[in-house]
């Protein structure tokens, strides 16, 4: 049984409708998503205005006109389509925090760097993996500036009269759908942790340094 405290932290993800924005760049690293000068915060919020800072603003801090997220309707996009290996580089969770604060709760790419991928789920962001072929279809569709919809429960993306199914780890899906706090989930396994530690103290006494 799950206690009440497991259901606190994260925004639940179920369905989402939005006009998707498309960034046709591969290997978008987390330095690009949120540069280091914004990592000095001690909060998780407020990073959205600096999302993709270097690409989004010129040297004088003015918005660069031909960067898609600066323009209607993409400045309100909640879905981002991007090239492969999205989120590579630094482990900074400020990257998903910045996406979330901007309003993006779903990313679609053909591949992600492992740490970024995992960080998304901790923040209620759904990172969808599709084949290159499908990314191409969707990115072309995004030129129409029409809404697409994401249904996590059904694991499908609907655009126009078409739909694409996607795969997702069942446990990660459940955590997103229910907005579960995984620390609380793990603490419910305390007795397993206790018994592991007891054995560890016997078998590897040097680990605890006592």
């Amino acid at each position: 049984m799950m206690s009440e405290s497991t259901k606190i932290k994260m925004q639940k993800f179920n369905t989402l409708k939005s006009i998707p924005a498309y960034l046709p760049i591969v290997n978008i690293d987390t330095d690009m998503i949120i540069p280091k000068q914004f990592l000095k915060t001690i909060k998780r919020t407020g990073l959205g205005k600096n999302l993709f800072f270097e690409m989004r603003y010129d040297d004088n801090g003015n918005e660069i006109k031909d960067f898609s997220l600066n323009n209607e309707p993409f400045n309100n996009s909640r879905i981002l389509i991007a090239g492969n290996n999205f989120g590579c580089g630094s482990s900074r969770e400020h990257a998903p925090w910045a996406l979330l604060d901007f309003g993006i709760t779903c990313v679609i790419s053909s591949s992600y760097a492992d740490i970024f991928y995992s960080n998304c789920f901790k923040n209620g962001i759904l990172p969808i993996i599709l084949e290159e072929e499908k990314i191409k279809e969707l990115s072309e569709y995004s030129n129409r500036k029409e809404e697409i919809s994401i249904d996590l429960n059904e694991q499908k993306i609907v655009y126009g009269n078409n739909e694409i199914k996607f795969d997702i780890d069942p446990f990660k899906k459940k955590c997103l759908l229910e907005g579960l706090d995984d620390i609380a989930l793990s603490l419910e396994k305390s007795k397993h942790i206790d018994s592991f530690e007891k054995k560890l103290k016997e078998n590897k006494p040097w680990i605890f340094n006592d």
């Binding site: 591969v26 330095d31 000068q37 000095k40 909060k43 630094s90 960080n119 923040n123 793990s186």
Partner: protein
Amino acid sequence: MSTTLYDKIWNDHLVHQQEDGTALLFVDRHLIHEVTSPQAFEGLRNTNRKVRHPNLTLAVVDHNIPTTDRSKGIDDDDSRIQIETLDKNCKEFGVQLFGVHDKRQGIVHIVGPEQGFTQPGTVIVCGDSHTATHGAFGSLAFGIGTSEVEHVLATQTLVQKKAKNFRVNVNGKLALGVTSKDVVLQIIGKIGTAGGTGHVIEYAGSLISDLSVENRMTICNMTIEGGARAGLIQPDQKIFDYLKGRPMSPKNENWDKALDYWKTLKTDSDAKFDKEINLTAEDIVPMVTWGTSPQDVAPIDGKVPNPENESDIDRKNSIDRSLKYMGLKPGVAIKDIKIDTVFIGSCTNGRIEDLREAAQILKNKKKAAHVHAMIVPGSGLVKEQAEQEGLDKIFINSGFEWREPGCSMCLAMNADKLKPQERCASTSNRNFEGRQGRGGRTHLVSPGMAAAAAIAGNLDDVRKYQN
């Protein structure tokens, strides 16, 4: 069943496993720093949770810290607040901290091994992607996000799914002037920046065994630039000798017990890998990156590539974008690229052997007049050691600035940054757009190559400067 070193460490740390393979993994060692921990501690406070094992956690300030005189405090308000926040959090939760004025302060991945906090067969995590460094000791070490930092603080465990096994074999001997930095750049060039995604890499082969402990750390450190979260090397006598007598290494009968266990940490001879590649050390030459991804490598004798020769459209666009950012024309000889700045330091190349390698090239030579050059030792203890050996004098005499330890210009969170269009030969690990400062242009090289570039004023072949 035959297992790999990674399999063994994984199995040995399984606290619980769900039917779908989602595992709860015990974490033996947790390193934290000022940038990726404040929100984690805030989370603990908001939920009234404690740090489960403060003595398995070690904190150090590194990312934000000035590398100039710190006696008058830190000017930048945000940096100061972050550093003070770590201090406050460590006091409140009972975690040991190497603060600004502690001689042991330095880059988290240099401090861990130096103190003997890093040990074979352990699971080590840190909110920093270069945590893979510690894999050089035969540990499973990887970077995590801040939510996971909070999870480890609260539970001393982490929710994980098992990765696949990838072995990189490097056999043979390196030529004079070629280093482990060149080896890892070559590996990343070969597998690509996403080549290791979903895998843990084990580095093996005669060259890897021949490398010193510190040189092994350089290779494991950059594993993440090839997409793999962790890279590790089977521990051997060199590792055991390195750890013996370090402040946090096991003592007395615990040392004997630990040593017995560490000696069992081996990949079985018939273990299967999901992926495997082989490199010959004799084929490796000094390497330089020309683009904005660590996979964009060329030999020092090479040329900047021409995007028109690329058949893959994404790759072509990516080279186009890189060259535009880097201000380089296709076909230009790498050695004709003039540089403005040299940075020697970082968790990749900020250890004593790296400084010795640079000093050997710089001895009795001057940097080119137009070059701004700085050396940032990886820790206070590295700095002290270098000064005892007189390396600081060599650097200062050749025109380098000799700084206080920290991450510095590797990620430019402090005042050490490139100006727009400034071009740097750097011993760090990432050449991403804006990484070393907005508009700054980074060429990743070994410490010897950085020293050679400082003398020549352009990227140059370190082999010309060998004494």
